[in-house]
Symmetry: C2
Subunit: 342 residues, 2 copies
């Protein structure tokens, strides 16, 4: 029931996913009277779907604490409960982000070995896409949190992008080891000394996000949220300037018509729908947030992310990575450093 | 002597400024043997310029502490000394940013009433431009620092944009008064309760930067630096995608030729050269950092910023704003709140 165009957009997105994943089954939580007419449009989806009726829904402006307390029979809560009790493999919602985070954390619980769950999502880059976390779950983070974000981010791209040994960078104001504050320097040191099954690329800077320098960018939730929204705003400004430019005269308009297919292809590369699906990582279960303003295609991408993570046994992999990590012996790492210098 | 194409680019930029500001005088610090041939190209610039020779220059990779200790006769140091002793109104450099900040702070000193100087610069927005600070001078900031940044940012846009009562927003992860950490909430409260001669717009989010929601965006130097570089990277990615799109086939290429003038006009709106000139604010003197990779036109913009601030008596205005500010009586502000609610 969440998002600007629910439940229609949700049903349309689910139908797209059904055609791509013939073995997937769906449970739609919400107002059956409003869902059924849309579901009736897609007989094959109807066959593999089940509607669990509730007339309660978390409002977009409801406070997380209130949603947690009073939303026990809400569609969001029932969907998350279904993950907790094993009825569903994962939950996808386009509703209230704060409520989804609070209820997911409360119902599913934080994974052992993880102190703080985090929000992760892909960003478009010159080379493809890069996962960035935390996007806003934790305003302040310590070094352990950042190290755990790195491990979760690596597990995420391993499943989503099929990269066996991803590269991970820690966002800072410069690349030198002494840059940043104590938290960043401690996290950087831990990531250099311990092998968690990914390549630690060291500190990176803001421009490295869209450069695609690394597969995973790790940062605190405040910076991640600011950067995510700044890039969304910048991208939207750019598209709007471009539209204005093409409408600024007859020659430009004709030029636009000629270049339109290429122009559309370019917009596809930064289409927010293609990057839809922010995952709340570090929980005992898969919880995915869809953008509220997306359409069926965007929502389908968010469901796709959830399916990948369920199939890839995401939470178990994070646990395994943390348990299998080992400290690189100091002499060894110094040898390695010397080798790198010479 | 700083930047990728000095001293040629510096001399070219100075010539552009000379033609715009006939009463300005210039002192060029650096290797006279290398500067003179470029200066000889512009006889009228030569008339209003003076070269102060030194064969020492701060290297691009020199540590600020080292630059401060060993660069006593460097072109950068001598230029900043000239501001301190009143020979020059302000200094502009395309050299080592860390060194420029360290030497400017040491030589010019921090203004009374300001605890920490900060870096400010304009960003392109849908509506024009917005000044953002701090862009990296202070990794960690307390509430007082943020309030002082707001005052300095307002004084900056008052002079640069001629806006009498600018709007100022505090970057956060949401707009509600309870969002963020204690530092942000305290700064937000102080800015609501005290009238510093600008309109406090409350908390804003990352997307508000390019939306142009406010004239000044205040944030800590870590977030500001990450956002600045992320937007630079995003903008460069966008331009590169656009170039690829237009080169992807014959129709696109013809389309590009037709739309070229409009397309160029659009690029002008986000041209980094137009936004060149980051100012180190909060010092007893004007110190401006030009991008190292800019050209003469970009460098001229950085000098223009310095001239505006010198003429606008920037440091004195900040001091006056801080002294004239008064606390809004609690009853009054509560009345105002009630009025706003009803």
């Amino acid at each position: 029931m969440g998002g600007d165009n629910a439940p229609e957009m949700v049903v349309e997105g689910t139908e797209i996913v059904r055609s791509l994943h013939p073995d997937a089954r769906f449970i739609l939580f919400g107002d059956e009277g409003r869902i059924a007419p849309f579901l009736a449009r897609f007989p094959r989806l109807n066959e593999v779907s089940e509607v669990r009726h509730t007339d309660q829904a978390i409002a977009a402006d409801e406070k997380p604490s209130q949603a947690l307390r009073r939303g026990q029979d809400s569609s969001m809560r029932l969907a998350i409960d279904a993950v907790q009790n094993g009825t569903a493999g994962g939950v996808v919602s386009a509703g209230n982000t704060g409520a989804l985070m609070a209820i997911s954390k409360f119902v599913l619980g934080t994974q052992p070995s993880i102190d703080r769950p985090a929000m992760i999502s892909f960003f478009p880059t010159r080379r493809g896409k890069t996962a960035v976390l935390d996007l806003g779950a934790n305003i302040e983070c310590n070094a352990d949190n950042l190290v755990q974000f790195a491990v979760m981010g690596a597990a995420f791209v391993r499943i989503e992008l099929g990269i066996d040994r991803p590269t991970v960078g820690l966002l800072n104001v410069g690349v030198e080891e002494l840059k940043g504050n104590d938290t960043l320097r401690s996290a950087g040191q831990a990531l250099r000394e311990v092998d968690f099954g990914f390549e630690f690329a060291g500190f990176i800077e803001g421009n490295d996000i869209c450069e695609g320098t690394v597969d995973v960018v790790v940062t605190d939730g405040f910076t991640g949220n600011a950067v995510l929204k700044a890039l969304e705003g910048g991208s939207s400004m750019f598209v709007s300037f471009m539209r204005q430019a093409f409408q600024s005269g007859l020659a430009s308009k004709i030029g636009y018509l000629l270049a339109k297919p290429a122009f559309q292809q370019m917009r596809t590369r930064i289409d927010p729908r293609a990057y839809n699906g922010a995952v709340f990582v570090g929980l005992n279960g898969i919880s995915v947030k869809s953008h509220g303003g997306t359409d069926g295609e965007g929502y389908a991408n968010a469901i796709g992310v959830a399916i990948d993570l369920v199939r890839g046994r995401f939470s178990e992999r994070i646990q395994a990575d943390l348990e299998q990590s080992y400290v690189i012996p100091q002499e060894l790492s110094e040898d390695a450093r010397r080798a790198a210098i010479s």
